[in-house]
């Protein structure tokens, strides 16, 4: 080999990248002193800058899950319908008829705060690649968004940018964005959450995995060229924010949904041949994580010539090429001899296609650049020796139980209801949803709040007399419950998701989770992580909805202030005949029946509720308790009633309680209702705390159903030992009457519901 001085002449920066690192370099890259010493010991040399960069990316929280791994391992991940659990690009479940649903949720929190449009757009692009890498055509997108206080000026800018970014990518690539959630809380003022979920469809026997096979097989780079964008993005996503965080803008990736669309079509076309042996997208930590993970999963090695990587800019160094997070790129191992066939497809779609190296059996990652060896590392320490920390934790729970009488107020039921629908957390998100293409692909049955879960038809499963199968999707989390009690909060997120899936008429099947928390070095934050994982695990195993994929986002703090703990649950369920699905809207002359525990229909749980927030200006106290047996009962009965085609609508009772839920069921068809009250409340007035707790309490395991077959439904409920309370029959009056206590104009509430977000965003028309 030529002397290093030759390299200095050709590419000075590459020369520098190949020099031995120092401890300060490691600290700059976010590694600790101990981690640096461990690396030197494990590889038996002092790494050069490129090698150290590769280690720092693989050891980052984002790639190694070093703080959460110990606890993630305790999540239930298995069931007979699970084809692939966590550890691959996305989770895969069997949905019958030789079909598989492939799905995952992923965060793009830090980049979206710094650069809302590109941050959220690339979040969508990244999660779509995770899904089509597995051989699945994406059929639906969802998102879970958390913004800061609505009255903070920056919030408007962030909402507008994030919504445009999500739409910008999803609309262009032509995958419908069918739903999700958007919430506001001041704890997200300096650290918003952007979690994007994608669901795809594949043939059960045509799933593609990432483990490399066969020494000597060609390693192919496809897609967009590599640029200097997003370098060390994974490390940025693993650090807290400070005032100077916007200086990190150059580490935010730039998305190109058009190239994403071409890559999607080209990959799926190639996957129809038998050329692809394994494939992995270049997401966080780009070429580093894709090459390391493919080679290590296959217990093999990889030699790559970085001079062959298509680059956007001249004289990029090995360090930059390995750590760039340029979007819309894939790494594949092809069957030898199929390169020409594959290249023809990528040429057709005008995408780069480069044979950049080969699989080896050395167990090492060897990279050359400008003719010099830029990296020679054993793969095992990169993957196996990433630290796993058992960080100290303390699960803090708020045990204070509020009685309705603790919340005395002069507000009437109407005052409270208006305040609830003026709260952007409850109000209609139509202003946001209309900016997403929810109907492209022509299979969307329910999007954006039509039903408790979004529902897409599965193309090609139409049969005589039926439009075929459907997939129901939801994302849920109530962070204030998690804050008050991480275990109950974790359970509640799973239960609400399952209730939402069931309320659409589908059977809950599996979960992808996005665990968003603050700094895990703080005991209480670590306690939130541990506690909510415990809660999620318990509920998910009880409801047989295993976790098949997920993502962890830590260090969501700004200047030491942590976000509300936000473990988002993305759940997928299936329905055999989509025409049997349920929307939330009741029809005329339907009887509304609330299912749940009879105790909860005498007085409501007010602690930690939106109602309490209105009265006390804060959330305090223990969240409503969770009884998994009751949750399961209510889910099972709703599916049973729906199978017998006895229901016309269903809506679970969550934020804002029973009366809020009833209003939402009456909006669409402008209906009214004479609502029955339990005997103990008949003589109350509109200020009565007990009556108000009945209206707005947030007890769990409750769903309101609408039926035309009142008697038959009641009979079945009794036979199955389900507690219920008959609310009344819908009429065309457009008024909701609580006996003689109060009359509520549904039209007025509906108007407030629809105007809240537009007026917050300054779009009054």
């Amino acid at each position: 080999m030529e002397p290093q001085s030759e390299l200095l002449k050709i590419n000075k920066n590459e020369y520098l990248a190949q020099q031995k690192s120092k401890l300060e370099d490691a600290l700059d890259m976010g590694l600790t002193k101990d981690e640096y010493n461990l690396i030197c010991e494990k590889i038996d040399k002092i790494p050069n800058i490129t090698e150290l960069g590769i280690f720092s990316a693989m050891f980052s929280e984002h790639c190694s899950y070093k703080s959460s791994k110990k606890w993630l391992k305790t999540l239930p991940t298995e069931a007979s319908h699970v084809i692939q659990g966590p550890g691959e690009n996305a989770g895969v479940i069997d949905i019958g008829e030789n079909l598989a649903a492939v799905f995952k949720i992923e965060s793009h929190n830090h980049p979206s705060f710094i650069e809302p449009y590109q941050g959220s757009a690339t979040g969508v692009g990244g999660i779509l690649r995770d899904v089509f890498t597995m051989g699945a055509r994406p059929i639906a997108l969802m998102n879970a968004l958390r913004f800061g206080s609505p009255d903070q000026p920056l919030t408007k800018h962030l909402v507008s940018g994030v919504v445009r970014g999500i739409g910008g990518y999803g609309n262009c690539i032509g995958i419908p964005t069918v739903g999700g959630e958007t919430n506001f809380d001041k704890s997200y003022d300096g650290n918003i959450l952007v979690n994007a979920m994608a669901v795809g469809l594949a043939k059960k026997d045509r799933i593609f995995y990432s483990a490399a096979t066969g020494a000597g097989n060609p390693v192919i780079y496809v897609g967009a060229k590599t640029g200097r964008d997003g370098i060390h993005g994974a490390t940025m996503a693993s650090a807290e924010f400070t005032e100077n965080s916007t200086e990190k803008r150059p580490t935010v990736q730039v998305g190109d949904p058009f190239t994403g669309k071409l890559l999607l079509e080209a990959c799926l076309e190639l996957m129809n041949t038998d050329a692809v042996l394994s494939i992995q997208d270049m997401g966080a930590a780009g070429l580093t994580s894709s090459s390391v993970e493919m080679a290590s999963k296959g217990s093999l090695g990889m030699n790559l010539n970085l001079d062959l990587v298509p680059t956007r800019e001249d004289k990029m160094t090995s360090y930059e090429i390995m750590l760039s997070e340029s979007q819309e790129r894939m790494l594949m191992i092809l069957k030898p001899g199929s390169e020409e066939e594959a290249k023809t497809i990528f040429d057709k779609w005008d995408l780069d296609f480069a044979n950049i190296g080969e699989v080896t059996n050395t167990g090492r990652l060897i990279l050359t650049k400008n003719g010099f060896e830029a990296c020679n590392l054993p793969l095992e320490p990169l993957v196996e020796d990433a630290p796993e920390y058992n960080k100290p934790f303390e699960i803090k729970t708020n045990k204070k139980v509020y009685k309705p009488s603790d919340l005395k107020t002069n507000l009437t039921i109407i005052d409270i209801l208006i305040t609830i629908f003026k709260n952007p957390n409850i109000a209609s998100k139509k202003w946001i949803w209309e900016q997403y293409d929810s109907s492209v692909m022509g299979d969307t049955i329910f999007a954006n709040g039509d039903s408790d879960a979004s529902l897409v038809k599965i193309h090609g499963t139409e049969k005589k007399g039926s439009f075929g199968k459907g997939l129901a999707i939801t994302t849920d989390c109530t962070p204030r419950y998690v804050k008050s009690d991480p275990i109950i909060g974790g359970m509640q997120a799973v239960c609400e998701a399952a209730r939402n899936i069931a309320s659409s008429g589908a059977k809950p099947l599996a979960i992808t989770n996005n665990l968003n928390f603050g700094n895990p070095d703080k005991k209480n934050v670590m306690g939130e992580i541990v506690g909510s994982i415990k809660g999620i695990s318990e509920a998910a195993s009880y409801l047989s909805t295993p976790i098949v994929s997920g993502n962890v986002s830590l260090y969501n703090e700004t200047n030491g202030k942590s976000i509300l703990p936000t473990p988002v649950i993305g759940m997928v369920g299936a329905i055999d005949e989509v025409e049997n699905s349920l929307e939330i809207s009741a029809k005329l002359d339907n009887v509304l029946i609330a299912l749940g525990q009879s105790d909860n229909f005498k007085a409501g749980w007010v602690g930690c509720s939106i109602y309490q927030e209105i009265i006390n200006k804060k959330n305090d106290g223990a969240p409503p308790p969770i009884n998994l047996e009751n949750e399961k009962k209510v889910i099972e009965i709703i599916l049973k009633l729906n199978e017998q085609k006895l229901l016309t609508a269903a809506h679970d009772i969550s934020d804002g309680g029973l009366l809020t839920t009833v209003c939402e069921m009456l909006f669409k068809y402008n209906l009214g209702l004479e609502i029955n009250l339990p005997n103990n409340l008949i003589n109350c007035d509109s200020h009565d705390p007990l009556l108000q707790s009945w209206c707005f309490g947030e007890d769990q395991a409750r769903i309101i159903i609408a039926t035309k077959h009142n008697k038959k439904v009641q009979l079945i409920l009794k036979e199955n030992n389900i507690d219920f309370f008959v609310l009344g029959q819908t009429n065309s009056s457009n008024n909701l009457n609580l006996k003689d206590i109060t009359t509520i104009s549904i039209n007025e509430i509906k108007h407030i519901n629809e105007k809240t977000i537009p007026s917050m965003m300054g779009d009054e028309q």
């Binding site: 910008g168 609309n171 262009c172 058009f258 669309k261 779609w349 492209v440 692909m441 022509g442 439009f467």
Partner: protein
């Protein structure tokens, strides 16, 4: 009926349009790749929606320079029928097959929602003849640049020639946002001077099932097929 759907890099409503036409005719339309300059004789060519070439430069501007455009122009000069939906409409405008321009929506936001269209009194054409003048169709839109703009003299000419085919219409007097994009005189679709080319922003292929989007798109497309077959 022999039909074809043109596919450019970035087209994304091609499959939906193929499904809709197959549902009506029982026959699968042929796919025409944008680089093809030689296309067979067809009764109907559809340019579907999408973001051809990423909408970079201007919506439809790059697609309008693809080789397939000259064969579409030949097809039109032979009296052939062409339907352009959404991005397809934008391409027809960029290719100067239809007049006017489609600019950013008035609110500068992408908008996806149902709209109500009114069939206009226009020249004989294979798309709307068969439907009643004044008939309303509920068909969704999903676009960023659907704000149809024409100078006054051209607008006058289009009116005189009976080339305004579809308009967004209010369902009641209080409805404010019935026009989703701020287009001139609520125009949603226009015809070529021989009536054989229609460009429209709404997506009829997304309204072919009562479970979602309703069936007015199916009614519209079925009428097209019947008119073309004769």
């Amino acid at each position: 009926m022999r039909s074809g759907v043109v596919i450019f890099p970035g087209s994304n409503c091609d499959r939906d349009m193929i499904v809709a036409i197959r549902k009506i005719t029982g026959k699968t339309p042929i796919k025409i790749w944008h680089k093809e300059s030689d296309i067979p004789n067809l009764d109907l060519i559809v340019i579907p929606g999408g973001f051809t070439f990423g909408d970079y430069l201007r919506c439809g501007a790059l697609a309008a320079r693809s080789p397939v455009i000259s064969s579409i122009k030949n097809h039109i000069s032979r009296g052939g029928t062409v339907l352009g939906v959404c991005n397809g409409f934008q391409i027809l405008i960029e290719a100067k097959i239809l007049p006017g321009s489609l600019i950013r929506n008035k609110k500068l936001m992408f908008t996806c929602r149902e709209t109500t269209l009114e069939v206009q009194n226009c020249i004989k054409n294979p798309f709307l003849s068969g439907l009643k003048i004044g008939e309303c169709l509920k068909i969704p839109v999903a676009h960023n640049e659907g704000n149809y703009f024409v100078p006054k003299d051209l607008l006058k000419q289009l009116k005189e020639e009976g080339r305004i085919a579809l308009k967004y219409i209010k369902q009641n007097d209080n409805e404010k946002n019935y026009n989703p994009n701020g287009s001139t005189e609520d125009i949603a679709g226009i015809l070529s001077n021989n009536g054989k080319v229609l460009g429209m922003m709404p997506h009829p292929e997304r309204a072919i099932n009562y479970l979602h989007g309703g069936t007015d798109g199916l009614k519209f497309l079925t009428n097209c097929v019947e008119q073309i077959i004769g």
